[in-house]
Symmetry: C2
Subunit: 88 residues, 2 copies
Amino acid sequence: MTFDAVVHVSLRPGIADPQGATIERALPALGFEGVSGVGVGKAISFRVEAADEAAARSLVEDLCHRFLTNPVIEDSSITLQPADVPVA
Amino acid sequence: MTFDAVVHVSLRPGIADPQGATIERALPALGFEGVSGVGVGKAISFRVEAADEAAARSLVEDLCHRFLTNPVIEDSSITLQPADVPVA
């Protein structure tokens, strides 16, 4: 089965986020009010081929921990759904 | 009302994604099989103060088009939900 996976990587609370802080500082000058707590993270999307959803999730979690994120400073969350593409 | 907003920014189809391509090339060497179509985008999260959901969505869309994305090469999608924080 094929699954569409998205891994959201965000900085852990307390880790400096200069990119988010810069966006937040720029907003009032552009006329945007009422926006706070800006954080910039990554969204890594890909397609996974696996026997079932549990296998796909396990592969994506392993990938997250070993390669895509730095667990010292980053949190990650995984979204997985069956790809709506007919299997040939 | 306060809303939690997440703006997902991804490269448009056909735009080169060297970061995603690099991840995809590295995976077999790490023992990960069955992963394809890797794309790396941004996830910008923040909190919006607005009268209602329509006002909040309109503000976030405006912010997207004027500031957060480059519509020539990037697509964006907006996720908005009421923040579960009691208003003081």
